[in-house]
């Protein structure tokens, strides 16, 4: 999109929602947790400074950089990019994408839950068996 390496959509609670691009090298779960934590810390700073919210965060590295853009009030769009693209491009695209995603989430949330998708009734039982098998002393 803007020649970035990868784009990750992260829930504010620290879960990855979806990703795209070259993400194989990265520990996505840890990154998601840290991004959410980082975002929460920044939000706290904003509050103390009397800002509503910092809607964009940017960490610059030697090779790779990461930019975080808020989508709605629940999701964070993280863009990892290197020197092949510029912050300006990333900002521009991320802002646009964030607005589109926010709209999309809004639309989805209007839709009624038809209940077509559910976790199976035996889920907890199977999961607990698995727990015993995997985490035995």
């Amino acid at each position: 999109m803007s020649d970035s390496k990868c784009i990750i959509l992260i829930d504010r609670e620290g879960y990855m929602v979806t990703k795209t691009g070259h993400t194989e090298d990265f520990d996505m779960q840890a990154i998601s947790a840290l991004v959410a934590g980082s975002y929460a810390a920044t939000r706290e700073m904003a509050r103390l400074l009397g800002e509503e919210e910092f809607s964009v965060l940017f960490h610059q590295g030697k090779r790779d950089s990461i930019q975080l853009t808020l989508v709605g009030d629940r999701t964070i769009l993280a863009t990892v990019f290197d020197e092949r693209t510029t912050i300006g491009m990333v900002r521009l695209y991320a802002k646009e994408a964030s607005q589109k995603l926010d709209k999309l989430f809004e639309d989805i949330s209007q839709r009624d839950d038809d209940g077509s998708e559910h976790i199976g009734a035996d889920f907890a039982k199977s999961a607990k068996d698995q727990l015993d098998a995997v985490f035995s002393d």
Binding site: Y15, A30, E44, R47, L48, R74, F123, A124, K128
Partner: protein, 333 residues
């Protein structure tokens, strides 16, 4: 809890809570070292040099495929020190189950009860209670000599009749039983909610507000360079904003959102919610919006510098944000 039907994933968040040095980090270290490598991710710790948890420890666990869903647990610990309350609060956001790691040693009872009270308060801000959230108490350090009996600990700490597990995290004893007990409760809870079509609701709008931070924000507000701070008392967000109730179900990740009035505030007119302002319609005067126009140039200038300096003064815990950057950098290679 995140149920992502698009990715066929179930994610649960488990938080290890308790006073400083009770053994929370040690629990995660044991799990990390003993769990099969295929089932665990990396243990990420953000600690100070003195080895104390500054922000949180994070360990993802993968249970594998369960009834067609990739099932994962994300384990977090919180820093025990009293002054990191804002961090504890943010880690609790969206929590599905809590392990309270109590220090069994004599002389630690008060620290334990204080931490437990603090947990209750912080959960209440998200609309959660110990009675309705999967909760297990671990009596840790049972290997030591000068410790309270289980009965004494029960009387002082276990007011909600939670399951308890005796442990010695140092030797690893009781660590997996604690995790399995809680994980089982979380999974049952999930099943109950699903089968009765009661979907997960979540209080999100309430901002974490730390008592300690409040006081210090007041100090900063007195500084001449922060004209905006005095107009925004720390407790405002929690008291005036309507709570946002969210549900996360069906067709991929589907955040459904409803607004309900805050508790006991029926007469209060809900403020315009920040949702839209933040995402798109933010006033052009905001620093972030201006930066977009500036293209290549990173956020700089005196205002940004002021923010950074102030931040360090105002919020002890905010130093963690800098640690984050370092850790993120490492993860990204």
């Amino acid at each position: 809890m995140q149920i992502n039907f698009a990715l066929k994933e179930v994610n649960c968040k488990i938080v290890y809570y308790g006073p400083g040095l009770s053994g929370k980090t040690t629990n995660l270290e044991v799990i990390h070292s003993k769990a099969p490598t295929t089932n665990r991710g990396e243990l990420t710790s953000i600690a100070t040099e003195g080895d104390r948890t500054l922000f949180f420890d994070f360990l993802p666990l993968n249970l594998g495929n369960v009834a067609g869903m990739k099932t994962k647990f994300q384990l977090y610990t919180v820093p025990g020190q009293v002054f990191y309350n804002s961090t504890r609060k943010l880690v609790l956001q969206g929590v599905d189950g809590v392990v309270f790691v109590a220090d069994s040693r004599r002389g630690k009872l008060e620290e334990n009860t204080e931490s437990l009270e603090n947990l209750k308060e912080n959960m209440a801000e998200y609309g959660l209670t110990l009675q309705t959230t999967p909760f297990v108490i671990q009596y840790n350090k049972r290997d030591l000599e000068d410790i309270h009996t289980v009965e004494e600990l029960d009387r002082a700490l276990n007011t909600v009749n939670a399951p308890t597990v005796e442990a010695s995290a140092l030797t690893g004893e009781g660590v997996f039983p604690t995790l399995k007990k809680l994980a089982g409760m979380v999974l049952e809870n999930l099943n109950r909610q699903q089968s009765s079509s009661v979907v997960r609701r979540r209080m999100l709008a309430k901002e974490p507000v730390a008592a300690g931070v409040k006081a210090r924000a007041g100090e900063a507000a007195a500084a001449p360079s922060t004209p905006s701070a005095p107009s925004r008392p720390a407790g405002r967000a929690a008291s005036e904003q309507p709570a946002v109730v969210k549900e996360h179900v069906a067709s991929g990740v589907k955040p459904v959102e409803r607004r309900v009035p805050p508790k006991g505030a029926s007469g209060v007119k809900p403020r315009v919610t920040p949702r839209r302002e933040n995402a798109s319609g933010r006033p052009a005067a905001s620093p972030a919006a201006r930066d977009v126009a500036q293209g290549e140039r990173p956020a700089a200038g005196s205002r940004a510098a002021l923010y950074i300096v102030l931040t360090l003064v105002v919020l002890g815990g905010a130093a963690a944000a800098l640690y984050y950057t370092g850790v993120l950098g490492k993860l990204l290679g």
